[in-house]
Amino acid sequence: MAKAAAKKTAPVASPSVERRPALAGRSTSATGVKVEVLPPAERISLRAPEASAAALSKALGVPLPKKPKTSASKAGRTALWLGPDEWLVIDEAGNDPLADCAKVSALHSAVGISHRNIAISVAGPAAEAAINSGCPQDLSLEAFPVGAASRTILGKAEIVLLRTAADAFRVECWRSFSDYVFTFLSEGARDAAG
């Protein structure tokens, strides 16, 4: 499956130009919550029928979750259930999930999107309230426990939300409008503190 293409897009050891992620280093704090842009990561959008899940899980080293709104995490690599045949795989350990999937012959589509998304951490006791300033989902621990993951809405932008701890979330969004998302979360944080 798609080996040829995947091989060629594998990351390069020493690029002669530097990576300039959007919003690099941005952060803001309010009482009870800190909003901060996370470092770059490797990511793929993984699509596959159920039958391929086992082989892909094995290759990725993290079990692809089968339950809606859940995620699985292992060794710096997190797989988020986004849809019945769709996962967002985020690698924060510097390894390339695209290359791992390229070895799998079972039916699937793996597409590199490392640069498509950026991640923003929202952490602190008021994190939930900050995100609820524009996200209509129930983010109580009962409805959205640690490890819960979901694509959803923040204001007028689409985000992917992952709860990493009782008081911490990872917000992923596309890079072009990440300033909107960051600014929205900052306003939400300011109000959540008030």
């Binding site: 798609a2 897009t9 009962e142 932008a157 600014t183």
Partner: protein
Amino acid sequence: MSGAFRIPRAGRLSQAKTARFSFDGQSYTGIEGDTLASALLANGVHLVGRSFKYHRPRGFLSAGAEEPNALVQIVRDDARKTPNVRATVQELYDGLAANSQNRWPSLAFDVGAVNDLASPLFSAGFYYKTFMWPKAAWKSLYEPKIREAAGLGVSPDKPDPDHYSSRYAHCDVLVLGGGAAGIAAALAAAETGVRVILADEQAEFGGSLRFETGARIDGQDGFAWAKGAIARLSAMDNVRVLSRTTAFGYYAQNFVGLVERVSDHLKAPGHDLPRERLWQVRAKRVVLASGAIERHMVFANNDRPGIMLAGAARTFLNQYGVAVGRNVGVYTANDSAYAAAIDLKKAGVNVAAIVDLRDNPTGPVIDEARALGIEINFGRAVIRAGGKLRVSSMTVQPKNGGGERTIAVDAILMSAGWTPSVHLFSQSRGKVAFNDETKRFVPGTYAQDCVSVGACNGTDGLSATVDEAYAAGAKAAKDANARDYGAKTAKGAKPKVDASESWSRGMLGAAPGAGPDTTVKAFVDFQNDVTAKDIRQAVHEGMRSIEHVKRFTTNGMATDQGKTSNMHGLAIAAETLGKPIPEVGLTTFRAPYTPVTFGAIVSHARGPLFDPTRKTATHPWAEAQGAVFEDVGQWKRAWYFPKTGEDMHSAVDRECVAVRTTAGLFDASTLGKIEVVGPDAAKFMELLYTNPWEKLEPGRCRYGIMLREDGFIYDDGVVGRLAPDRFHVTTTTGGAPRVMNHMEDYLQTEFPHLNVWLTSITEQWAVIAVQGPKSRDIIAPLVEGIDMSDEALPHMSVREGKICGVPTRLFRMSFTGERGFEVNVPADYGQAVWEALWAEGQKHGATAYGTEAMHVLRAEKGYIIVGQDTDGTVTPNDAGLDWAVGKKKADFVGIRGMARLDLVAKGRKQLVGLKTKDPKVVLEEGAQIVEDPKQAIPMKMIGHVTSSYWSQNCGRSIALALVAGGRDRVGDTLYVPMPNGVIEVEVTGMVFFDETGGRLNG
């Protein structure tokens, strides 16, 4: 001193904490915790406003949100002026400045009051019957005068420096209203441990316990009990208590909008606090405990300042320690006004007389009033009030006629009974039912998971209310079927009501003396100046539906939305029609319950957060170069790059020439990109595009056209085949999201058997177009692993490799007609690769060009832009793109639609080129084309200009146009009639530059 009418030891405010404020420039002193209304009343000020139509002097009718009269403008500073604020709701802060509205030159002397004298002319709906002659006078005279006279306050004229915030919240039980009922329900629900939100519009909880001195619960004064209960609730982790928070809208599936007034009551709110906060709550169960609103008596001159609801006078006394007069009269049709008389009497205010319409009522309050020595008149009516800027007397008459007697008073307290607040229930689509015995509408059939308790449910008596509410709160918690979030305090017991006040019915409609055959002004709707006789007149004029009566008279359409007037209006209409009230019906209760600030609804979505702004990876570079940007959808795109002294025209000319002589760099990142992956990728492409794809070799590209099922062009773009099972599809910038949706729709619902997946990669790849004769020279030094020769990388091909050491998908393609490349690199590398290419380009004299030059260059070549040269009515054939439709294909989306009768008819508009006879004249895009410029208007138009530019490369203007039967007209002369003359044009082919296309390899 906080006012001559402040009664020592009355009320709950701390008299030591004074606050200075001004009204119409006059300074006063009030107390912290006052409303503007109570503070003005404490200073003996009753005259606060003028009515809408007759400009009659008005005072305070109420002490709450239902206030129709006392609307003022609050001025914090030049930019913070808020019109139409109810003085009965505005909390006092030190330094508050308020002005009266709708008067000129002053509140006491208002020229507009001449309308009052002429009021016989201004009957209901009079404006529908006049102002028609002479015809022109409506626009020039009548309407401007009417508009000037209407309106109440004045709109702010500067952008609002305050900010607003919003919060989505979820709970198991949402309790709306924080009186005894709401508190009891919240306690019961909270004690089970479920998530509870309790909201009340007032600054302090308690509802009518704020004035009901006769209430005792759990051994305490009612208000003290409420305070204690709220403290308990506030301490619980599973409970959110929101004061100053009005539930304004009840939407589908228990979704409730509330507004919290966060800082309007503060002297110095500080920068971090929002002015208001919008809460959007999804509740599993809702408990409505919204209480009841007292009605006024409808009698002549019942609008004079100093005449108010009895409950309001009690609130002013018992909450704020203010006497609304020194010598008050009472006019009532029920018991509750007696309590007001008793409280005031006990506070040392003289009660001149109670006038009670009822013949022989009995009860403890009546006995108590009598025992206090208050004169009571049964079976009598107040037929008119005296005084103008302030009530001075009431004239009393037996209700069936007889001798009049005038009693001097400085205030009249009135009560016709209480109307259950079914607004939110009704908004929830519940159906109200009329209780004929109690003459009130109460909740009937429920449409959502909610329950009404207490006064809003027609439940009388504190004990019954608390019982009902507590049980409902517990049941709501149980029905919500939620987990226990762990109430921190011990489970409590049901509150026990030790004492309460007595309740009785009242009356609806006009009181004796206010009709039907009088001409007096007995107001039903104060703000809109609707009198009992207006409503009768509406009925006489054939308005039989209550909605017609409402609209004809404007009864209930003022800023209070008829909270005090609706039931009276309905009763008068019903009486006039001779029909029972339920047959006349009730007007619809619409959100919002009380007016809601736009800012609160908009909350964060202002300025930069109005809509996401999308920027490409090279945006900072373009900005630094001084690029001018244009908005394309949500994107900011570099439009042109002016050098010092250049205007748009000269910058674009320079950019266009540079691309054709050396090379240009262009940021094409905003184009939509979709990776289509899977063994059935080609099959899927065959179905979604008109073109054939199966035979496209990996490594090659093709221009694809996508139709809707109706056969019209939907989108286009170059598609590269990366591998047998992998396509890199591009779309238009604006079309990207809908194309993705369109493709997913077909994939998921029409062709689910295909093994293929779609991934948006628009933002994964930054795209740098390098176009021009030197383009290869610029790129080649930076590329690794790709043979850049024309043989290995011909026009319309794609290779994967590296550029500047980072991965690239390198497309050889051209939207300029020059040798060209589109360098795709992972977006975070976009700017660095751009800079590297730029540095190379500088060696060759390359330039950066923007979207405008891109448009000119592609037009010189006759390349279309979907959405500009086509709209949603253009077929591939119309656009001259028949060659891109696979003739042998059995199916693709749009195959049938484009075969419809009209889509294959002769004479359709077709895309052609236009050359103006005068090469210097540039046509206007959107200009219309005719065959015969001498015809009279309306002219027969046969097409329009879709694209038009000055082409420096061609040395003349060029244009594309959609023209009926256009391809058969090539060589013909047509005309473009413009306001300042007709422009002659020649119809041409669409290619203006390098017709043979040789430059693609040049």
